[in-house]
């Protein structure tokens, strides 16, 4: 077996290990949640869960799962583009659109969407031309649209009725049309992002190099802004302007703790989004908490656990050997190739394995085995 194959095998083992850990974690959550639910609500659980046979619960389930899927996909892009607070600004400007629509007594969807896209384009334009720092323009648009919303609401006759549902949202009140819109948007957005994932990945790595490679970076950036504002505006009524942002950022941030591969990041993020939607909705039914809040609570729990046990940060704990070639402690995470100071030119390229064996790589094909002098 050549070093390449050896290395590839070792690496794929490690990558599989990370991924399977993610999967195990996913399973554990389901089990734990089910157990907590069963233990705490043993008495009337059946009665409460029978709510799911009602049409409004089914609609809520479809809506929240869809939001989990599209939030997870777009959230990964937002996270990697360092644009998370765009989401917050877009959500608040959509809220301004909603309050204007209520004031004018028209169907809010069009106004909500156009406010969201207008602010996204405003921020995108300034960002593109680098006229101001990102956080400055986000702060200005965020507060201005909030001010607009408050001005609109001051004309309201009966304040409480409608506008509150846009601030806090209620996934249980989603109408049939609303669910259809959310579902169609989810399919469209997810498919678009999966088709365009390679150029998007390239752009996120380096916009400059992507431009040199002939990718129309500007078009992709505006497309991304449209997709982000679409996600936010369609889920506004279900989750509310304050909480909708969490469905973009939290599952993506949780998935980010598990893998270094883009496709897997997308899949894990979607899975975490869906998981928090389902568990959140069940918990909110059982404990009679606010549905949106419970979904966000669950996704934050997933993030906290991921963050705490992330394999990415566990690397420095298990020191397995002091290598004689690189005279360095080699952490458990780094066992496959010693990278420091000796990576090819002049130095000795070598591989470590978990049993403290060292494979010296000389030339292209030969290898000899050695033992480490010391063990940590």
């Amino acid at each position: 077996m050549s070093e390449n194959q050896l290395e590839a095998n070792m690496q794929s083992t490690k990558e599989r290990r990370y991924f399977s850990q993610g999967m195990m974690f996913f399973g554990t959550i389901i089990v734990v949640v089910t157990m907590v639910v069963v233990i705490s609500m043993l008495g009337d659980i059946g009665e409460k869960l029978s709510l799911f046979s009602y049409a409004f619960m089914k609609r809520a389930l479809v809506a929240s799962i869809s939001i989990g899927v599209m939030g997870g996909t777009v959230g990964v892009l937002m996270l990697l583009k360092n644009m998370v607070f765009y989401g917050e600004a877009i959500a608040h400007s959509s809220f301004a659109g909603a309050s204007l629509a209520i004031l004018l007594n028209i169907n809010p969807f069009g106004l909500v969407l156009s406010f969201g896209i207008a602010s996204a384009f405003g921020i995108g334009y300034v960002n593109n031309k680098q006229l101001l720092k990102n956080d400055v323009i986000i702060g200005i648009i965020f507060t201005f649209t909030m001010a607009l919303a408050i001005i609109f609401t001051s004309y309201f006759i009966n304040y409480e009725t409608n506008i509150e549902s846009y601030i806090f949202g209620n996934v249980l009140l989603t109408t049939r049309e609303n669910v259809i819109v959310i579902f169609v948007a989810t399919v469209g957005i997810t498919v678009t992002i999966f088709i365009l994932r390679r150029p998007l990945h390239y752009i996120m790595f380096s916009e400059e190099m992507a431009r040199v490679a002939g990718i129309p970076v500007k078009i992709y950036n505006y497309l991304f802004l449209i997709l982000a504002s679409l996600v936010i505006t369609v889920s506004l009524k279900a989750l509310g302007a304050i909480l909708v942002f969490a469905m973009l950022i939290t599952p993506a941030a949780a998935a980010y703790q598990w893998t270094f591969r883009f496709e897997r990041l997308l899949i894990l993020s979607i899975m975490f989004g869906v998981l928090s939607s389902i568990t959140g909705l069940i918990m909110s039914t059982l404990f009679e908490w606010g549905s949106g809040a419970t979904i966000v609570f669950m996704s934050t729990m997933i993030f906290l656990i991921s963050f705490a046990i992330s394999p990415k940060r566990r690397s420095k704990t298990n020191v397995s050997s002091l290598c004689r070639f690189c005279s360095k402690y080699v952490s458990e995470d780094e066992w496959e190739v010693c990278s420091e100071d000796c990576f090819g030119f002049g130095g000795k390229t070598h591989l470590h394995d978990q049993d403290d064996n060292i494979y010296l790589v000389s030339g292209n094909s030969t290898k000899e085995e050695g033992e480490c002098d010391d063990h940590g």
């Binding site: 088709i195 790595f205 002939g214 893998t259 270094f260 883009f262 990278s339 990576f343």
Partner: protein, 266 residues
């Protein structure tokens, strides 16, 4: 006037330099950002298989020159001919005109890569291949072999599965060079490849570029602030300060004089 310039440049070639056909010909190129002139009246022939070094103070238009060659910045005046295709200053949309892009690879100035960025070394080098930026094309076996070959060329084949953010600066730079090579280019542009690297790693990288130039018969254009490193490989040196101040053999003492004059006004 133009012909004079070109013949002067060719006459300045050292004996060991290749005397191939011009692969890039720039004539009276003028580029400005608003009313700020970045490049003034550039006349330059870059020959096939040549290793050209560019040195000049900050803000002297070195990166702008690359942007013009890459078709990212429109010229205000003049014309440029690359690989037989020509473009004039009034051509408007450069992006559409620059179909030579597939044959030019570019390694940008060093930028920081997020430690947790979700990409392996393999993914980054694969970005150099066309299918990674064309939506509806698939990676063939050929693509994969080319990616592996390029990693071997820069000596990073054992790192193909490492997250890119976990590598050191010199290793990342080598991966970016492998990515540029994966495109199978005719021309390789390097913008300060050794900035932020310590002197040993920088020397290793320069040696690697020298070997590449010999083996792969690449035309390499390198911007560097380190004259010593440029002298290792370059066959011709351009001293740029908005316009071409001097061009010739990098080991010529006149190069030192000219650099002193521009940098220290002596």
């Amino acid at each position: 006037m133009i012909m004079d310039d070109i013949s002067r440049q060719v006459a300045n070639l050292p004996d060991h330099a290749p005397r191939g056909n011009p692969i890039i010909t720039m004539k009276n190129v003028v580029v400005a950002y608003g009313d700020q002139v970045a490049l003034w009246n550039i006349n330059l022939d870059i020959l096939e298989g040549e290793y050209l070094g560019i040195i000049g103070p900050n803000g002297s238009g070195k990166t702008t020159l690359f942007k013009v060659i890459l078709g990212l910045k429109a010229m205000n005046n003049g014309s440029i001919q690359i690989l037989g295709q020509s473009l004039h200053g009034d051509a408007g949309n450069l992006l559409k005109g620059a179909s030579w892009k597939d044959k030019i690879a570019y390694v940008p100035q060093r930028f920081t890569i997020d430690r947790n960025f979700p990409a392996r070394v393999w993914d980054i080098v694969r970005m150099g291949r066309a299918p990674s930026h064309k939506v509806f094309s698939r990676f063939t076996r050929e693509d994969k072999e080319q990616v592996m070959r390029c990693l071997e060329v820069v000596g990073m084949e054992n790192f193909s599965n490492r997250p890119i953010g976990h590598l050191s600066g010199g290793q990342q730079q080598k991966v970016l060079i492998a990515k540029a090579l994966a495109k199978e280019p005719d021309i390789l542009l390097l913008d300060e490849p050794t900035s932020a690297l310590d002197f040993k790693i920088a020397q290793d990288l320069i040696d690697l570029l020298g070997r590449l130039h010999e083996k792969e018969k690449l035309t390499i254009i390198e911007i560097n602030h380190n004259l010593r490193l440029l002298r290792d490989n370059c066959e011709r040196l351009v001293i740029l300060n908005k316009t071409i101040e001097w061009i010739g053999d990098p080991n010529d003492p006149k190069a030192d004089e000219k650099i002193n004059e521009i940098f220290f006004h002596q």
